[in-house]
Symmetry: none
Subunit: 207 residues, 4 copies
DNA sequence: AATGAATGAGTTTTCATTCAT
DNA sequence: GATGAATGAAAACTCATTCAT
């Protein structure tokens, strides 16, 4: 459940000043990921978080101003983690279609590993609509850029539209929902990504 | 905001016996759509619903057993309305690809008209996970069936897979999010549906 | 401890609509007078008030929005009661000096009877400074008017100044503090009022 | 805001041993005067005091045992300062009436300079009732003694009563409230003291 | 002496649900 | 059926005080 990364994001306004404090902050974030994933934002309780983290209730407020605040911190933590996972998978040089296939495959693996991400991102729609919208707009823009690059290189059709990026993202998200979250053991990320990629290849590729 | 249809769904266990009761029930459902759409399930309050409906707080329990109950009634009300909108749009005889285009176009119009549907369906993930899952599985199955029909008629590729249905649904949902919900005035449902449909046509159509 | 008067002041925004509600509101106000008088605003608790009133904790919020709100309601209740007590004592026709003597005497009796008034008014300085200031400014103005009337009738010096009204009020308040609140059994309101009145008579009376 | 005087009152049980400690103690007391004056006892926080003082939270307890303790130290600091201001104003030889006039004038100036004194003394009624009562009883006794001296010297009426002292103190306090605390710029301490003193002169002076 | 993290008891407030009229 | 008052469990949040470094 550890979302890796350093425990004290730069923008955090109650940054710990000691090593001990840094550890406590990390424990709280990890505990919050579990608690929110299990119960959802509203059913989750601060005391549930601190209990899991093994710290006193009051200590929560040493690091966060409210339940909202830790939720927001968690969402950006996760957006960051998803991005990192994608970047790692896309390290080497690849063709445009290959990129999309690998990206989807990596995302499916990541979601299967961190199922709580769906609940938490979806709940952001209610808890912090701005960050919810930003989350998807950022990803769509990233995809859109990749598609334009593919068009420029001649591998994809020249008439790439923003709607294509959103369509692609929607596909990916729902395939993740169907297989990574609701899937039953036997499915294969590469196979799913392959089926989707064939659709994209024909749909957007140059013949 | 009126979700049309008769006021007393068959499965409702506290069906009103009088005409006056029927009107009160309808007022409550309409008020709930607004309240839940505006605040989300948890921030919404029964008293907010009854205030909007113009009835006394206590009267709520004459028609619903709980907050959950009215929410569930609303979700099925809406699923029903979406289905009805689709059915109406798909009345005449059409080819497989045309069906998908018209269905998406109708859905985009419907969502633009009833923006609260996204919030409410999404929130079902937390309030009533089973109905959330059922909602999407039902739609996916419907799409899957249509694709199989298209394959049988020879218009689509023969190797249709369930993943194709989920991919298609994801596209539609995210295009709705981007344009019907977050869009700014100028967009055209038919154009969006056209872009998506071209992708599907190449991706799944027989050459 | 009952502050008499009707239970539902006109300006109250959560006025009860039934007789039963009216009784509950009255019980809450009376209980609050005791609780605030005994513990002061900050040490007083809502649950203490409802326990004394014999109603459920939640019922408090049927009538008041917050601890502040009931405190403010109480202060105006009391200002009103003090004014009423004074008016009753000053019913018949009297000379200017006699008026001041009777007013002080009545105030001393009232304060002895309702010792909590000092704590509550004084605490308003912190809880609701505006009403604290208004309370004293209103009384000072009332006194000032009476003194001007006395000057007009020729019984008092013609050069009455606002400062005289504040001086008189200060005398009264501190004599109340010394005798009505901190006094030990044996004191006599009329005697105290007499001593003060002689001072006023010489100080402000026409020779 | 500095209440002058040496930083370590004799009765203080945690007297600092070093010069540095003495400075920290002084900073805490000055910060507390501002914090309590601004927010009142209950809304004031230890962390607010240490933040203003520029020291760490924990350091507070090196010098005071509790929030109450520093409040009490502050009240006695202020009582002391008021007394000192009066003593300085009353240095030379004066008649009984002149003494009262000068004392009031000096008090008005002092209060205008240190407006927080009213809030803090008044709040003592709730935080430390004994010291509140003692504060006023001590002052009343001091005034009473001066009036008796005036009677003995023949300048004042022989039948001086304790109630006269309390009446005088009440006048002074409320004139201070009206002019020093709530007054708007233009008032003159000597003029106010003059009006009050004329009242006292006629009321208590020998004709 | 100084620092700042940790503690947890205590209080306000909300609101779904029940009930008497 | 309708009304609106009553209930009380549950949770967020504050902050004086303690403690480890």
């Amino acid at each position: 459940m550890e979302w890796g990364g350093p425990a004290a994001p730069a923008e955090h306004d109650k940054a710990p000043r000691t090593e001990r404090g840094r550890r406590t902050l990390r424990k709280l974030l990890d505990a919050a990921a579990v608690e929110f994933g299990e119960h959802g934002f509203h059913e989750a309780s601060i005391s549930g978080i601190t209990r899991r983290a093994g710290v006193a209730l009051g200590s929560f407020y040493t690091y966060f101003d409210s339940k909202d605040a830790i939720f927001r911190a968690l969402v950006s933590d996760m957006s960051e983690a998803v991005k990192r996972a994608a970047r790692e998978a896309l390290a080497g040089p690849m063709g445009a279609l290959e990129i999309e296939r690998v990206a989807l495959s990596a995302f499916l693996r990541f979601a299967a590993e961190h199922k709580e991400i769906y609940r938490i991102i979806d709940e952001a729609e209610f808890v912090d609509p701005a960050s919810y919208r930003l989350h998807y707009e950022t990803i769509a823009e990233r995809i859109h850029q990749r598609l334009r690059d593919g068009a420029a290189s001649g591998e994809l059709r020249p008439d790439i539209h923003e709607a294509h990026a959103w369509a692609l993202m929607g596909m990916n998200v729902f395939l993740g929902l169907r297989y990574a979250i609701w899937g039953q053991g036997e499915w294969n990320p590469d196979a799913v990504a392959g089926v989707a990629n064939e659709l994209v290849a024909r749909g957007l590729g140059r013949r």
